[in-house]
Amino acid sequence: MSSVLESAVSLRDPLVSVRDVFCVHRTADGDAASLQGATLDVAAGEVVCVLGPSGAGKSTLLRTIAGLQVPSAGVVAVAGYDIGRLGATGRARLRHELIGFMGQRSEALLAPDLPIRDAVALPVMLRGGSRRAAQARARELLESVGLGDRDGALLSQLSGGERQRAALCAALAHRPVLLLADEPTGELDAASAVDVRAVIASRARAHGVTVLLVSHDPDSPGVADRTVHIRDGRLAEDRVNGRGALVVGRGGWIQLPSAALAEAGIADRAHVEVHEGRVVITAAAAHAHERDVRAAAPPVATPTPEPSWAPAEVELRALSRSLGRGPDRREVLRALSCSPPAGRLIAVTGRSGSGKSTLLRLLAGLERADHGDVLVDGVSLASAGAEARASLRRERIGYLPQDPAPVGFLGVTENVVLTLRLRGVPPAAAAERAAAAVNAVGLAERARQRVARVSAGEAQRAALARALAGARGLLIVDEPSSRLDQANALRVADLLSAAAAEDRQTVICATHDPEIVGRADFVIELGG
């Protein structure tokens, strides 16, 4: 391969070409599809912001373009080179000569054993730069993001925001032609986010760097030439200069906004008519077979028909919590007080890093607050011991963590049974309740399948079934739809609503998903 850099400079349009790309993650725990026909062109020097819900495939798109992951199908071309056809050596050389990559987690980018200036200088040295020149470059970049006085610190001595800024410096150190940045402002406060965005924009403009920026941050599109929305692994919308357009994929795939579908009353089927040059889409009746299936399927309901418990009363009293130690210490919750209504769906929202998961862990008694207290049915978790809090979880709480770890070699139902057995439920009753919960999350057909063999979304639903079956008045769920497609996200939203309304559960859900937020009876917004 001749110099990629020279080729890239000579190619003006497009620098990145993604054509109908599918990407399946093959892991020890099973396969899961993330990109499902994504198509995108990025011109040289263009700054593109990629938006979309969690699990939509944004990060996979960036990793695929960076050559860190090979597409399962389709073509990803960078500077004219087909990533899928390049070997590991070729992809490494492409990154070496062309790409700066900033992943979602700064810990995965910067060597924890190097001082920041060396960690930032490392990409330069890997490209043959002298140590002195590399460190000079590192100091220059660190100065530009306000870390000039901390260049001797180790990664562990930096705050989350500082780490992200250092990671951005490392990604820019070797003057890449293409910068791929995944949530560069996710852990930053508003002011820092503005600074980082400014650095990216200025580098892009000054040096003609092509930027692909993935973000949840609503302000990120402000620095971009173009914004694309990705959902369910496909590009759904492309917006330039404030004007958006739906993307028409190969074969005529168009993804309509769920709000528009809901407003038009379109559920599973639609009629499409072309009328005077316009396409008109209207709701259609479900297919006969589908009707039969839906009739046969049990209604979405809570696992147990007649709950014997009362919804949990939850109260937050001046709750404060900091994470990290020393210079890294960061206060994620400060004097948070509220009394969400019992037996309702409560949504916890806020940007990434605002403390949503921390709050849920405090509610579940998995962590203790620095100050303040959490009362569940009047019982103070601050004064309860670890055993008492664990006992409370067994007796009252169903909990779905953000990153659940169901047992891969057990079936879906078996995982639920195991949780119920842990709570002292007899084997027969546990099996019955587990079956009901698995059915409720729509995994009846996969009930006996090993969790390792199901997709990531299905595994998340299996974990949700576990939480639903185990809840006795308090259901705590963290981003339950982050890995789900739109339909299943809707189903989960329905389940959570029903759990609160019919199953006498107090449901507390941390989420970015507007569907769930929209159905919430009470919203706790963090970081606002």
Partner: protein, 1042 residues
């Protein structure tokens, strides 16, 4: 690569503790292997020294001998030979042939310096007129030995300590003399002045040899010095012979060859055993390095994201592995250096010598460099190559190695057997590793409705089974290796015990002196019994011949008291056709084994016999037996004519008249014997009748005390006479269906007038009564007339080997010739082997000692006397003490415990066992560390832990679950290891044999499964691991307890 180097340096500097475990494992492995490699020469030296220590001082001497006159040139050449060998100045020896001085045959000799070889210094210069000498062979009866021009004056006595200078030890009865062992040597007159003695002109005509000798300091030789020494000796020999063909050169070539073979074998054996064990220990390195895999993989991801090329990534992985391995290898080498220095010093070889011939050599350095490269490659491959693929390849190798190992347990003598067992152990560990994941999942499913805590423990292990499987596999390997070491030890001990028992069936074996004096001749059985504080079995050891297929087969024949057979050590049920106690009972005759002759009254001083021999002059000898069993002969005289009387004086004491021996007078005997030897059908043979009767015991005054009837006596050998024994006829032999032709019974007498049974006649009775008619054949051999003995009536029951049994006639009848005497035998059992029978014998015949003694004595009185004693003792101390001093010290004594100890402590076998035990101990220690390290990783897996906590598991649950998880892993690992050990037990046999110096031990080794030891080892392993788990959990579960 500068960036990669910076990163590697920073990682090494910031968190060195992350490398601790793999570095520890690797350092211990390298240290262990290097120690084993270095111990090879040490063990070889010990083995060589064990061989050399068995050489006598004479066998250790380098000697140059000159036949003929001594010239200055010859002397210079001889002395130069020793200088070239870097040996001390040799002793000079002059040995003359025997010469008659003053009418006495003496042997002048000179040794210079005399004090080096005797207990006396030189008596002074030797001049022809006065040559002071020392007597080296006891009292001579005179002190001056002279001839014209030579006067040797004995001025004292000296004892020569070794046979080295003269070729014999003067005065030693076992020394080969003119008439063989024990024959007389002319007394040696010894001076310390070689030149003086040599210059006595009067003796110049006496043939002499000059020799120079010096003893090699064999005890200081190391194994690696033997070959060079042997080369130097050979070169010196060649140079010397080139100077003059009259020189001869002797050196301990054979001993050095044997020692060198031992020294060369030891490193190979140890390398095989230690190499295999080290391969098993490498599993720990894999285990510990596996813990680093996640950390290194994360760093690799960071590098890739930062734009590193593949070469950068490879350099990073290889660089980290290289420095880690370099440090570990150096640490291991330091450990080994210390160990070898200590062991070398302890063995007397010296730390410097031991190190300079093991580690501190170019080969040692290359081996360490090779180890560093191999370990670096292994750690690099672990990160670069998918672990599952590596494990699959290892599993294939494992299955192959196991199949090979189990298919060839009987490949005795194959040195690869030593390597195969540890390798198979390692291979089995890989199989365990691959099987553990499925096993854990199966366990979880079997507990579907069981206790949830147990289910969770299985889930915890199986959820991410790689680390637990590796830990379990390592435990299995450690336990398996330990179990194999136990089996090896048990087989070694059993083999040593069996070999020792094969040489000494009870606790001690006392054999005759070199001069063939038997133990019972030196001390009566009662004294031996008192010394032994146990039982003493008198054993007759001789040879028997029988005809098989037209050829005469000669085999060892042993007469062992049947009562002692069940007490033989090392007897295996498979050795005989029936249990030894049953066979012992079959050997015993239903009645007495010997019928005694008449007991002579205490006052008897003469024995008188009337002989009627009209055609033959016959010499009559009475054979007497003392109560102790000692046999003596009293010549009564020569009888000829119609009415001759022979009489002999009895020795004092109590005697039984066992038999009368008839021989031809000496001249005729010689003539007949000579002619018969040339032609058995010679005309000189004739069988002529005799009449013997009127046998009386007389007192000192010639008055008869006892008259004895010979009418029932039977002839044997050259004598033919029919007889009957009424006692036997009425006894058990008739009851057994055996009809004796004649009868007679023994009757002990206590004195004059006592009842002497059928032999007794009234004192002063007719002398013609009770006469025996004998037909005596002139064959040159004696004829025996004695009471009818059981051997005349029933065959001697014998146990024989299968080949001998096949030669027996129908009913097991076997006609033997024992010591040339005919003995009818019947085979009553078959044995595959019998202790003390030399290996390579064509077979063997075992009879009850008293029965065989009786049968032999019946043919030739005294011929059945026991040769040796098999002694069983509860306390060997007094026996050892008694055998170490006085006349008993001349006997050849062997203690079973000494042989067993010698065999069990054979340097090579002991070193291999030590290697295996050290490897097992090391592996067991590392297994505990590995278990904690591997499984405590699950505690740090926040995702799994949090998930479990989120489902309601409290700290108590978590702690209990973790402990149960660790205990489960320990139990599974130990059980798997025990199974591995049991599977590998058969290999212990071939391993012991491979490490042995004997290619085919006698008896053959058998597989020993040390069930109790294995069970203890397994139980101890589980207990240690569980205890370590509980202690470790207390520390590690802090996080879970929050």
């Amino acid at each position: 690569m500068r960036g990669v180097a910076t990163l590697i340096a920073a990682r090494a500097r910031r968190r060195p503790e992350r490398w601790l475990l793999p570095a520890l494992g690797l350092a211990l492995t390298v240290g262990f292997l290097a120690t084993v490699l270095s111990l090879g020469p040490l063990a070889g030296t010990q083995a060589a020294r064990a061989v050399l220590s068995r050489l006598s001082s004479a066998d250790q001497a380098v000697q140059v001998t000159l036949q003929g006159p001594l010239t200055p040139r010859a002397r210079a050449a001889a002395l130069a030979t020793f200088r070239s060998l870097h040996m001390a100045p040799p002793a000079s020896v002059l040995l003359m042939n025997p010469v008659r001085l003053s009418g006495v045959i003496v042997r002048p000799a000179a040794i210079e310096p005399l004090s080096a070889w005797s207990d006396h210094s030189s008596p002074g210069p030797c001049q022809p007129a006065y040559c002071p000498v020392l007597s080296a062979a006891g009292a001579l009866g005179r002190s001056v030995f002279s001839a014209p021009g030579a006067r040797l004056v004995v001025v004292g006595r000296a004892e020569v300590r070794s046979a080295a200078p003269l070729g014999f030890v003067p005065g030693d009865p076992s020394a080969l003399g003119p008439s063989g062992p024990g024959g007389s040597q002319p007394p040696v007159l010894l001076t310390g002045d070689v030149a003086g003695l040599d210059s006595i002109a009067e003796l110049s005509g006496v043939y002499r040899t000059h020799s120079w000798l010096s003893v090699l300091d064999m005890h200081a030789l190391a194994g690696w010095q033997l070959a060079a020494l042997e080369r130097r000796l050979q070169a010196a020999q060649a140079r010397l012979l080139a100077v003059s063909p009259q020189f001869s050169f002797s050196a301990p070539f054979a001993g050095l060859d044997a020692a060198r073979a031992q020294a060369a074998a030891a490193p190979r054996r140890l390398l095989l055993a230690g190499g295999g064990a080290a391969a098993a220990l490498l599993l720990f390195v894999v285990l510990a390095a596996g813990g680093l895999r996640r950390d290194q993989a994360a760093e690799l991801v960071r590098l890739r994201v930062a734009g590193a090329r593949l070469s950068h990534c490879l350099a990073f992985v290889a660089g980290e592995a290289s420095w880690l391995c370099a440090v570990a290898v150096l640490a291991g080498a330091a450990l080994a250096t210390g160990a070898v220095a200590v062991l070398g010093s302890a063995d007397g070889i010296g730390a410097g010598a031991a190190l300079s011939h093991s580690l501190l050599t170019p080969i040692g350095a290359m081996a360490l460099a090779g180890g560093w490269l191999a370990a670096s490659a292994l750690l690099t491959a672990m990160l670069v190559v998918p672990s599952a693929r590596v494990a699959d390849v290892l599993a294939l190798v494992a299955v192959g190695a196991l199949a090979l190992a189990l298919a060839r347990p009987g490949s005795a003598g194959d040195p690869l057997s030593v390597l195969l067992a540890p390798l198979a152990c390692l291979a089995a560990g890989v199989v365990v590793f691959r099987a553990t994941g499925a096993l854990l999942e199966l366990g979880e499913r079997m507990l579907h409705r069981g206790p949830v805590l147990a289910r969770l423990a299985f889930v915890g292990l199986a959820r991410d089974s790689a680390a637990p499987a590796l830990a379990i596999a390592f435990i299995a390997v450690a336990v398996g290796l330990g179990g194999f070491a136990l089996a090896y030890r048990a087989t070694l001990v059993r083999g040593s015990s069996d070999q020792a028992a094969n040489q000494v069936p009870l606790d001690a074996l006392v054999a005759p002196t070199p001069g063939f004096t038997t133990p019972l001749e030196l001390a009566p059985l009662a004294r031996w019994t008192a010394l032994a504080r146990g039982s003493v079995l008198p054993v007759r050891r001789t040879y028997a011949s029988f005809v098989s297929g037209g050829a005469s087969v000669t085999v060892p024949a042993l007469g062992v008291p049947a009562v002692g057979l069940p007490h033989l050590h090392g007897w295996r049920t498979s050795d005989g056709s029936a249990p030894l106690s049953v066979l012992a009972r079959r050997l015993v005759l239903p009645g007495p084994t010997r019928v005694p002759g008449p007991e002579l009254p205490p006052g008897a001083r003469w024995l008188e016999l009337h002989v009627r021999s009209l055609w033959l002059v016959v010499a009559v000898t009475a054979v007497l037996r003392a109560p102790s069993g000692a046999v003596t002969s009293v010549r009564l005289g020569v009888g000829f004519g119609p009415d001759s009387t022979v009489r002999g004086r009895l020795p004092s004491g109590h005697w039984e008249l066992e038999a009368l021996e008839l021989t031809e007078p000496t001249g005729l005997e010689i003539t007949n014997g000579h002619q018969n030897g040339e032609n058995p059908a010679a005309a000189t043979q004739a069988a002529l009748p005799l009449k013997l009767g009127g046998m009386q015991a007389l007192d000192a005054r010639g008055r008869p005390l006892l008259s004895m009837s010979l009418s029932g006596w039977r002839g044997a050998g050259a004598a033919q006479a029919g007889g009957a024994n009424p006692g036997l006829a009425a006894g058990p032999y008739r009851a057994a269906g055996i009809a004796p032709p004649l009868g007679g019974a023994a009757g002990p007498g206590a004195g004059p007038g006592a009842d002497h049974g059928p032999y007794a006649r009234a004192p002063g009775g007719p002398v013609s009564l009770g006469a025996a008619l004998v037909s005596f054949a002139e064959t040159g051999f004696p004829g025996v007339l004695r009471p009818v003995q059981p051997a005349d009536l029933v065959p001697v029951p014998v146990l024989v080997d299968p080949q001998t049994a096949a030669a027996a006639a129908h009913g097991g009848q076997l006609q033997l010739s024992v010591d040339g005497l005919p003995v009818a035998a019947v085979v009553v059992g078959v044995l595959r082997r019998f202790p003390t029978v030399p290996a390579g014998s064509a077979g063997f015949v075992i009879a009850d000692g008293p029965t065989l003694e009786g049968a032999l004595d019946a043919q030739l009185p005294g011929q059945g006397r026991p040769d040796e004693l098999w002694i069983s003792t509860r306390d060997a101390g007094p026996l050892r003490a008694a055998l170490a001093t006085g006349p008993l010290s001349e006997l050849t004594t062997t203690f079973r415990s000494d042989i067993q100890s010698g065999l069990a402590h054979a340097p090579i076998g002991r070193a291999v066992l030590g290697t295996l035990e050290a490897a097992a101990a090391l592996a067991a220690g590392l297994a505990i560390i590995g278990l904690l390290v591997a499984l405590s990783g699950a505690l740090r897996n926040a995702r799994v832990e949090d998930d479990l906590a989120g489902q309601g598991a409290g700290p108590g649950w978590m702690r209990a679950e973790l402990r149960l998880r660790l205990s489960l892993a320990a139990v599974i690992g130990v059980v798997a290891g025990t199974v591995i050990a049991l599977l590998l037990t058969p290999l212990a046999l071939s391993s012991v044999q491979a490490a042995s110096t004997l290619s085919v031990p006698t008896p053959p080794l058998i597989t020993v499964t040390p069930g109790l030891a294995l069970a203890s080892w397994a139980a101890g392993g589980i207990a240690a691991l569980v205890a370590a788990s509980w202690v470790g959990t207390r520390v590690l579960s802090g996080r879970a307890g929050r």
